[in-house]
Symmetry: C2
Subunit: 165 residues, 2 copies
Amino acid sequence: MAMTTIREELKQKKPFTRKSEEAFVSLLRTAELARRLIDGVIEAEGGITGQQYNVLRILRGAGEKGLPTLDIVDRLVEETPGITRLIDRLEAKELVTRERCKTDRRQVFCRITRAGLSLLDKLDEPLAHAQDAALATLKKKDVAQLLELLDRTRNGVYKTKESQS
Amino acid sequence: MAMTTIREELKQKKPFTRKSEEAFVSLLRTAELARRLIDGVIEAEGGITGQQYNVLRILRGAGEKGLPTLDIVDRLVEETPGITRLIDRLEAKELVTRERCKTDRRQVFCRITRAGLSLLDKLDEPLAHAQDAALATLKKKDVAQLLELLDRTRNGVYKTKESQS
DNA sequence: GGAATATAGTTGACTAATCAACTATTGATC
DNA sequence: GATCAATAGTTGATTAGTCAACTATATTCC
């Protein structure tokens, strides 16, 4: 079966009256499916959630010295106010460690553990495979185009948000 | 300030090694921001969540006879197993009614109320405004292109999911 | 150097999402 | 027409997300 347009997929009788609405719905729907695909792989292979994986990736990128708790939030794909408890869970699984900073005792530095790193290693290949497969029908040029359009969309969303406050 | 690429936005030091990963991250991030923008408008103007709004829209489209509970799930932008309690909340707010079907007593038909319809009416304009504003920098052709690329991405995700099972 | 303010993070209360197990009803099969 | 399986929806238990209030530490500025 070949599902194509967002309208067919959501079984809508009438076409969208506004293209901007159609674009929003399609964007949200596509991202939701992509997220479930990725989270499924992460859960199956690593036993952690997508958010937890995202934190581990950020901490891998941060290296030896780690990162203060709230700096992690800024780098998350999906921001959350529940960062403390998210990291609690990662600490319980011994995938990260926390240590209060000596020069500024308000800050708590988070670091990824050896076990965390090897969990990420284990996930690299299956994730790459799923992502490549999902975008296999898009040519290089198409992916570049998609990236550019998404960049512009984000900037538009930011501007709209600013103009509201 | 002009945030542009996803890499800058998430403060990544190194560029993505795979374009497919970059596309996934950008897609998820962009959709997340779009969702928060839309949900913010819906919450501010209507006092309901984005999911609840989505259900009301579906029931408006279904018309007089309403729709069985589980048929709503298939039409949701973001599927949820919590449909029963989602509709419980809408019923508590008197935005929908439920009635057991007489010919098949397993099914429960959900219908939008007068109050539900007028809440949707109230939201139409501010939502259209926000969506149009967010995509204002994209030309007609760009939006069409974005829609097409998202359609193809969804199909790729579906195929990948199938091949996993 | 002491009061006011800002920053970093945690906690509690509440709401919502998820998964599995369950009830009720209908349809299929022999 | 009794049994077995399928469908429609609900409920309970667990986990996770959200918002506001709070503690502790650091900075500012008179």
